[in-house]
């Protein structure tokens, strides 16, 4: 187990990157703390897998360093880094039995057979595959194969980190929960540093202590699920996390009010004069439909998703989402929306602005 430090790291798949847009992974400094569970969250193609492959050594970064416990391993081969990685699609050695599959990483490192047998048995119990140990891996279902992949990743006790590259993509929904719970338990029991790449916010938020959100090759926010929900640092985070995501509404920020098409909204906090694109972000959870107060909206659609209702409405030509409780009545005369001032965030050029008189 180790602390993993990324120092000035960046990567481009082009041999001679001209500008920032050529970089798949833009410059990044970050410490992955020893023993923590991280989720790397972002849309497809945002550089998550690139980052993961650099950490595991499958890819050499264009610039910067990777340090394990202060030791520079940027150019060390994968084997020396002692990393375990589980891929999106299950990788099993078809012609081997499940037992041999699980034993493979240990045998390749020359561990003695009694230790291997003991360890394999332990892992098999953990992933619930003791009864199929003697079977060939070929005929198993996709989720059984992925469990083997997970097992192979965990069979070595001394790994520096466990990396998961969207490992549950091919798994059935009900198995996803089970496997994720098992992973979480493993993390709890053994305390490996884990980095879990996903584009599924539920997966990220339930698995990780800390979520790293990436957008367009850049890390835009690192925080606990609560922080990401309440105070998204970037409009992308607000939009990407939450279901539906945060409403981002163009506005003029004037001290402690926001002006939207001439209508004023109290922000509850004061802001310095801002430059560039100004927006306010409000989560649907903190918007309320009402019949008299607030900004005028036109309700387009009401979706009842069981525990609550999602109202799709139009505010000065822009679509916004509003959440209402299961029992809240939505009637035709409710054509105004109010925002909970406490939960309004202000963005300038997509980045959150910290109000005056607040530490961070």
């Amino acid at each position: 187990m180790a602390k993993i430090t990324l120092d000035n790291l960046a990567h481009s798949y082009l041999p001679n990157p001209a500008g920032e847009e050529d970089f798949a992974l833009k410059e990044l400094n970050h410490d992955w703390e020893d023993g923590a569970a991280y989720a790397l969250l972002g849309a497809s193609g945002c550089g998550k897998s690139t980052l993961l492959n650099i950490i595991s050594g499958l890819l050499q970064p264009s610039q910067g360093r990777v340090l394990f416990d202060g030791l520079d391993v940027t150019h060390a081969p994968t084997a020396e880094r002692n990393i375990a990685q589980v891929f999106q699609f299950p990788v099993v050695y078809d012609t081997m039995t499940v037992r041999d599959n699980l034993a493979f990483p240990l045998r390749n490192r020359g561990r003695d057979e009694t230790y291997v047998a003991e360890r394999v048995q332990e892992i098999a119990r953990m992933i619930g595959m003791e009864d199929v140990l003697a079977k060939k891996a070929r005929g198993l279902t996709a989720d059984a194969k992925q469990k083997i992949s997970l097992g192979r990743g965990m069979v070595r006790k001394d790994v520096n980190a466990l990396l998961f590259d969207e490992p549950l993509t091919v798994i059935d929904p009900h198995m996803k929960w089970e496997l994720r719970t098992q992973l979480k338990k493993l993390h709890h029991d053994f305390g490996h540093t884990m980095i879990y790449v996903t584009h599924d916010q539920t997966e990220a938020l339930t698995f990780a202590d800390k979520v790293v959100v990436m957008f367009d090759g850049r890390v835009v926010q690192i925080g606990t699920p609560q922080e990401l929900f309440a105070r998204p640092d970037h409009t992308f985070v607000g939009y990407f996390i939450g279901s539906p995501g945060m409403n981002v509404i163009p506005a003029q920020i004037e001290g402690n009010t926001a002006v939207i098409h001439g209508a004023q909204i109290d922000l509850g906090k004061g802001y310095k004069p801002l430059e560039g694109k100004q927006e306010i972000g409000i989560r649907p959870e903190f918007a309320r439909l009402s019949s008299e107060a607030g900004l005028p909206v036109q309700v387009r659609r009401v979706e009842d998703v069981g525990r609550h209702k999602i109202i799709r409405a139009e505010l000065f030509g822009q679509t916004i989402n509003i959440m209402a409780g299961e029992d809240d009545h939505v009637s035709a005369d409710m054509n105004h929306v109010t925002f909970d001032a406490e939960h309004i965030n202000v963005y300038a050029n997509d980045w959150r602005v910290i109000p005056e008189g607040v530490a961070s």
Binding site: N53, S56, P77, A79, F87, Q88, T95, P105, R138, R152
Partner: protein, 289 residues
């Protein structure tokens, strides 16, 4: 739901029936016809039962040719399959050079059989052929028209040159279908190069390799043109493979009856060996899963 019965639909299969009849069934049946009859000329035939089959089975000539044929197929398979895999493993996986390799490799496959034979016939000649002349100049006694070993080596090298590409291309296709993640996982698992081959590449290639071996077996077992052009079956009977012998018998000696019986047995042997091979390979697959 009631099934619609329309017997006229049979007419729709008629073209296929006709095509297969003229391209396969009727020619084959004429051979069968010859194999159970005898003639004394004048296009008159007499029923002779299984006498030709008995005669052929009792003749050393056919057994010798069969032995040579099995040896030939065995040797070329033993060379071409490992060599083809080796070539495929070392080919560039992508980029311009990959395409260049593919084109170069396909070239021998595009050359007509008798041209291949002619190329090697000339190539191996000690008076004007580059290979034969060079070997001769180096003091190696190489003459495929007189020396049995030289004749065999020439035929085998020629076939390897002609057909290894096929195995290599098929193996390459198998290799290309392996997702990167397998290699990455193998790296993470610290697998050696040999283990990557043994546990990832070979299993993933096994399907195409079965096809490659089957094709190469059938083709090499039927080989005629190249050895006919290069050695004509000689020296002596050293390279008289089954088909060469068959043609000698049918067209050289005009022994239609025995030749027809020979053909049928020849055909059955290929069918039998291919069937056994295919069944064994697919059963192995099943057992493993």
């Amino acid at each position: 739901m009631n099934k619609t019965v329309n017997q006229k639909a049979w007419f729709l299969v008629l073209p296929v029936l006709l095509l297969v009849a003229f391209s396969a069934v009727i020619p084959l049946m004429t051979v069968v016809n010859y194999s159970v009859q005898d003639t004394f000329g004048q296009n008159e035939f007499f029923w002779s039962g299984l006498i030709w089959f008995e005669e052929m089975l009792a003749s050393d000539r056919m057994w010798d040719a069969l032995g040579r044929q099995l040896m030939f197929s065995g040797i070329i398979l033993a060379i071409q399959v490992p060599l083809g895999i080796f070539v495929a493993l070392n080919m560039p996986k992508s980029g311009v050079w990959s395409s260049v390799c593919l084109v170069l490799m396909s070239l021998p496959l595009l050359i007509p059989w008798n041209v291949v034979g002619t190329i090697w016939q000339v190539f191996g000649r000690t008076d004007i052929g580059l290979l034969g002349y060079t070997l001769d100049a180096l003091g190696i006694n190489y003459n495929y028209t007189q020396d049995r070993l030289a004749a065999w080596v020439t035929l085998i090298v020629m076939d390897v040159w002609h057909w290894t590409s096929l195995v290599a291309l098929l193996a390459f296709a198998g290799l290309k279908s392996i997702p990167d993640a397998y290699y990455q996982a193998a790296k993470i698992d610290q697998a050696s190069r040999w283990k990557v081959f043994r546990y990832i590449e070979l299993p993933k290639m096994s399907g195409v390799l079965t096809i490659a071996i089957l094709l190469r077996f059938m083709d090499s077992f039927k080989i005629y043109t190249e050895p006919f052009v290069v050695t004509g079956g000689g020296p002596g009977n050293a390279t008289t493979l089954l088909s060469i012998d068959l043609v000698k018998m049918a067209l050289g000696q005009f022994d239609l009856g025995p030749a027809a019986a020979f053909s049928i047995m020849y055909f059955l042997v290929i069918l039998l060996v291919s069937w056994v091979f295919y069944t064994v390979m697919t059963n192995l697959d099943k057992e493993e899963s």
